[in-house]
Subunit: 184 residues, 2 copies
């Protein structure tokens, strides 16, 4: 997830047609702006695109216009939603209503590849359930001051992490953490 230094993953007023919120595009420039596509940023982006499955929440999925049914390379997409009776619009999309089941489904589908988790709520649910192995943040040097937080203090858990890697790209700092414990 791309995050401002003050913890926002989207600007204020996010919604249909404004998926990243006001000024939220600022957080995605490191991969969306060709002028910032240095070797580090390209490598980190390429790495994300080698994942074998995607888990995503309904809200993020819809704001991203469902990625036209394909996040990358047609990999399976597991949608965390309460409305599992609905018919998915795409063949590679599965609806699951429990975060543990969603992660298990995605991990099985990904085989020996990693699973990409999208959306703040989904990430927090996975973390709280103890089924998130790593947290990868792309910290953009900006303070948005308002918007949607990645960590909105709903979980209230103390989670220990371990920094596995810090890489500096143009206009972004890529941090990769391993989840060591959920609560202590």
């Amino acid at each position: 997830m791309s995050m401002s230094l003050d913890g926002f993953i989207a600007g204020p007023n996010d919604g249909p047609g404004n998926g990243l919120g006001d000024h939220g595009h600022r957080l995605h420039e490191w991969f969306a702006d060709p002028a910032k596509a240095d070797p580090v940023n390209r490598a980190v982006l390429a790495e994300a695109m080698t994942t074998g499955a995607v888990v995503v929440g309904r809200r993020t999925f819809d704001l991203a216009e469902q990625w036209g049914g394909d996040h990358h390379d047609g990999v399976p997409i597991v949608l965390l939603t309460r409305r599992t009776a609905d018919e998915p619009a795409w063949d590679n999309v599965t609806y699951v209503d429990d975060v543990r089941a969603a992660m298990r489904t995605a991990k099985d589908a990904a085989g020996d590849k990693d699973v990409l988790v999208h959306g703040a709520v989904t990430a927090q649910l996975a973390l709280a359930a103890g089924v998130l192995d790593e947290v990868q943040l792309h910290v953009v040097p900006v303070l948005l001051g308002q918007g949607r937080r990645l960590f909105d203090a709903t979980s209230r858990e103390h989670v220990e992490l371990e920094l596995l890697r810090a890489r500096q790209g143009t206009d972004v700092l890529h941090l990769r953490y391993r989840v060591r414990s959920a609560a202590r």
Copy 2:
């Protein structure tokens, strides 16, 4: 300021006798725990101790038990407070009621040295007033889930930063940013 990855500088229930809040000591281990005093952490701490003046808010000052009147080396301390009529308990402490005046007083007192700014509210006021030159964060690999945020979304300003330095110490990532613009 030492901050958890989810943006907290103190745990919940901070107050007299519990200045860092519940579990907040976790954020200070990188300099308080001798086992974590590696060369990087020692150098970064030593750097903070070469500052020529301190600006601090009333709340932080009191929670820190006024540092016994001496933050380090007896440097001047400028206290941002509305109660300027009160008599400071220490000779090197000055009371100022405006953040611009407080920063100017401290910068004058520091000469060619840097000024250390303490406290989330004071830092945000200085940032909003355009008188903060740098933001230095010591990011601890932990999610506290609750507590006192450094960036609590009261300012609502869009501030561009530039990463000057990222250094990895034992159990902490030291980030130093230059403030490029207050709003755009």
